[in-house]
Symmetry: C2
Subunit: 210 residues, 2 copies
DNA sequence: GACAACATACCAACCGGTTGGTAGTTCCCC
DNA sequence: GGGGAACTACCAACCGGTTGGTATGTTGTC
């Protein structure tokens, strides 16, 4: 054994490629990213790429699952879960998402949202993998939303609200990319927050608390 | 003069290409659409393409402007302008947008939103052209929004609300594409409508009408 | 020595773009 | 009003580079 035994072992080519894919595809888009681009960015050869993935499409699907895993871990250890009240957790989640809008759009935008626009009609496998990403994350919010809905007598469903949050975020990312300005995304998230404040504060919503 | 003098003259290659671009690029994405694809769809040759556009990038920018023009015309003759009250016009606009969610995502989604995701970092010319599209349409709503804001004592700006509408729509399109289901987009627009209802009905919003 | 994990070299198809050309129209000078 | 130069609109064939993918090694490990 020539190397020192360190805990941070050199990541495999597969992991290097997947991490590179999440980064470059969010920068350039899926179609514009060539297999050579990915290999160069990951520091591996084309042989390694096609050893681990049987096609570029296969990589895109695997990267979607990888995206789900990394984001799942990120949100699992986020502080918004700490609040005792369900609605507090929901609002803290929105604030957490707001706080993530930092740096370049490529770093805070969504892999699935980027890829699905280019593939939804030509590649159902990738499209479904991308929807699974978004849906899985939305579902992770449903428990808190359902509890807040029950407590505050709101007539929306947890599923619908969770998906609407994702829609606003995706749209906010697009506007940020188009204007090359992150503030425009933050503004939309603020509008979303205000929607939730009004929806859940229920300031005698036409006297019909359902 | 050998031909009959008809009003509907054969569209030029340039127009055929631009129309084809709006259609195919929304289906396949910008990078995945080759110049040959465009020529085939438009029924013209590559020579004609490069006679009218100096590059594929040039076509993308021209198509963005073409998109602005066609949508401008479409919304100019939409019925939501008829209402006497400004807030009624705003709400009717949202309902109009809701009603446009028909058929395939490629037919109701936005050229600019699709293209900008693939080009925002690699091609500033295209990115700016796409933002101009979105901004121009958002600005067309600002007069009605400003009037409704003034009448109802709302503390948001017309610009911010107009852009938020566009963000929600863009996000709704993405979710529709991902789920391959237009209802998910309609649901988000319904949430947006509810936000506007609550924002403008001002049911003693914490007693601070600004 | 078997097998996974890579690396090297290569391929046909396709990519955006260029070429040299033609048909028709417009313009201008006589 | 006739002729020709200049111009626009378009076309088919072609070009070098890049594409996703493959075939065939080589290397390290159990």
């Amino acid at each position: 054994m020539s190397d020192v035994q360190v805990l941070a072992k050199r990541p495999s080519a597969r992991e290097l490629i997947l991490d590179a894919a999440l980064r470059i595809v969010r920068e350039q888009g899926y179609s514009a990213t060539s297999v050579d681009d990915l290999c160069r960015a990951a520091g591996v050869t084309k042989g390694a790429f096609f050893h681990h993935f049987k096609s570029k499409e296969d990589l895109a699907v695997a990267a979607a699952k990888h995206w789900t895993q990394t984001t799942e871990a990120k949100f699992a250890r986020a502080p918004y879960h700490q609040h005792a009240d369900a609605l507090d957790r929901v609002m803290a989640y929105l604030d957490f998402r707001r706080g993530l809008i930092r740096g370049e759009p490529a770093t805070f935008s969504c892999y699935a949202g980027t890829v699905v626009q280019e593939t939804y009609q030509t590649n159902p496998l990738i499209r479904d993998a991308c929807f699974d990403c978004v849906e899985a994350h939305a579902q992770s919010l449903e428990a808190d939303l359902a509890e807040a809905i029950a407590t505050h007598g709101v007539s929306e469903t947890a599923e619908s609200l969770a998906l609407h949050i994702q829609a606003v975020l995706q749209g906010a990312f697009i506007l940020s990319k188009a204007k090359n300005d992150r503030q425009i995304a933050i503004d939309s998230i603020d509008h979303l927050r205000r929607y939730f404040e009004m929806l859940f504060n229920t300031p005698n919503r036409e006297e019909i608390p359902s």
